[in-house]
Amino acid sequence: MMATLISDLQLSVSIWAWPLVALAVVIAQIVFQNSRLSFLISILGLGANLIYSLWCFDLAPVQALFFGAVIFDSLTQFLNVLALFIALGCLFISSPGMFSQDNFFRVHYEQYSEFLVCLILSGFGAVVAFSANDLTCFFLGVETLAIGTYCLCGFFRTEIRSSESALKYLFIGGFSTVVLLYGIAFIYGSTGFTRFDEISRVIAAGDKPLVLMAVLFTMAGLAFKLALVPFHIYTPDVYEGAPTAVTAYLATMVKLAAVGISLRIFWSCFGAVSEVWIPFWTSLCVASIIFGNIAALQQKSLKKLLAFSSVSHAGFLGLGLLLADPSRGIGFALFSYLAIYSGMSLGVFAIVALLEDRSKVFMLEDLKGLGLAKPLYGIALAILVLGLAGIPPLAGFMIKFWIFQQLVEQSYFAVAILAALGSIVGVAYYLKILMYLFMSGDSDWGLATRWSVLRDQIFSVRSLILAAVLLSLIGGLKPDFYAHWILTTFALK
């Protein structure tokens, strides 16, 4: 028994290295009281974990570790790599505040180590949640992720907007957790097991009375986490008020975790009753694509617009999940969508974080003339926004194209047509951003404040934006580049 435990620990290094990094940050903060050192430790720790996970990427058959509580298959490893990329990206986005002389940032960045610890630990929660093979482990992971993000939202604690966004996220998140937990209780009640493989065996074996309740409650809880219409009501407010690095985190890491756990729950547990949940789930996703895009059209605030855009992208992720039926093939469309979408959103939020003035809401009009005053940022933002819109030569087009192709192949024709109409509506507001960017007019971008000039110098954010732009370009022009890797990862499953 001891020997299996040790070999399990050896296999799952890339999972438990997360809290180890957080622990190192805590100790460094106690000993040295230096937030720059803490930042360096977290970047190096997560970076080392990333390199290790990529190097040891193991395509061996599925392995259940820790007496079956955790499953370490290629899906876990792929999502873990993606989660590490996202966590590093969000750390980079949050880093410029460390160098600010501004009083607002100085006060808050004294507690920067706490921010780092919350971010890394909630990332660990995400990894535990999507690698879980047991309801207990799954629930603990989801909650670790959620409680960390509540704290992160309220990081600017002297600011009313940030505190209110934390409050709203706390209540909506808490409610969704309870709903999800009631679903878990019904899963356990109808089967008598907490292990996913046993649950799916029992559900496949016969008609269970409580399965419908279990499916509905679990689905509602997961739709809250993924922010699908009509469970998206909190997104505009929370995304607007949270620090921009945290907004990026909510739009990428939380969605990544939600997709990962939905994949496990729906296909591993409820695979046998797919005819029960597919109609509900499809209508949620289509509603998100259509209403998310229509609501985004009316937004005047940039971060609210991006929030609704993320709702519509969540709809596409949900459709990708629908297509990821393990018995029919691989969820190639889903995984490429997840990777490319996360990269592009991180890039967009990095630019927003560089340009925003925390004392007021970032309106669309504030972008006026940016493309002419600072052409490099203008072009970068234009490429990323066109990528999110799904304009042909960019990666954003390829990922949508694959989703549509798979939808047609699996004969969801009506869904494909509605989703296409929704995303055409979406192009309008992305073009509105472009219009503001390159519209000449009275803008004060020429007279940029000292703070934003200073932020311009910060290497980490600029390299993140460059990486996102390159991903968007290369991913569109040479899709084989990553398609091959994803295909080989999951073909062996």
Binding site: L135, T136, F139, L140, E143, A146, I147, Y150, C151, G154, R157, T158, I160, R161, S163, E164, S165, A166, L167, K168, L170, F171, G174, F175, T177, V178, L181, Y182, I184, A185, F186, Y188, G189, G192, F193, T194, P236, D237, E240, G241, K300, S301, K304, V361
Partner: protein, 102 residues
């Protein structure tokens, strides 16, 4: 000792859950909302324990302990956030948390 059937236990659980959910939707005070969340979590706990008895295994009871612990953490974080907002605004009525409206 009175024998309680699983249906009765589930009814109690569902009733408490509904009371909590109803309170969550109509109450305006942040502390009341936290209490309602706690009520719903305890309703779920009743369901876990009664299912555990129904199936005659311990998994549900173990889950119940985890739920209690996590609920305590969540309430602690929630109280901290509510307290912080109270320091800034001098009240904790939810309908006045409207700085993000627009």
């Amino acid at each position: 000792m009175v024998d309680v059937s699983i249906a009765q236990l589930l009814f109690v659980s569902f009733a408490i859950f509904s009371i909590g959910a109803g309170g969550f939707l109509i109450r305006k005070n942040a502390i009341s909302l936290l209490i309602c969340l706690e009520l719903m979590l305890n309703a779920v706990n009743i369901a876990f324990v009664s299912f555990s008895r129904l199936h005659n295994n311990e998994s549900g009871t173990v889950l119940y302990f985890f739920v209690i612990t996590v609920a305590a953490c969540e309430t602690a974080v929630g109280l901290a956030i509510v307290l912080n907002l109270f320091r800034l605004k001098k009240n904790i009525r939810i309908q006045e948390a409207n700085a993000l409206r627009g």
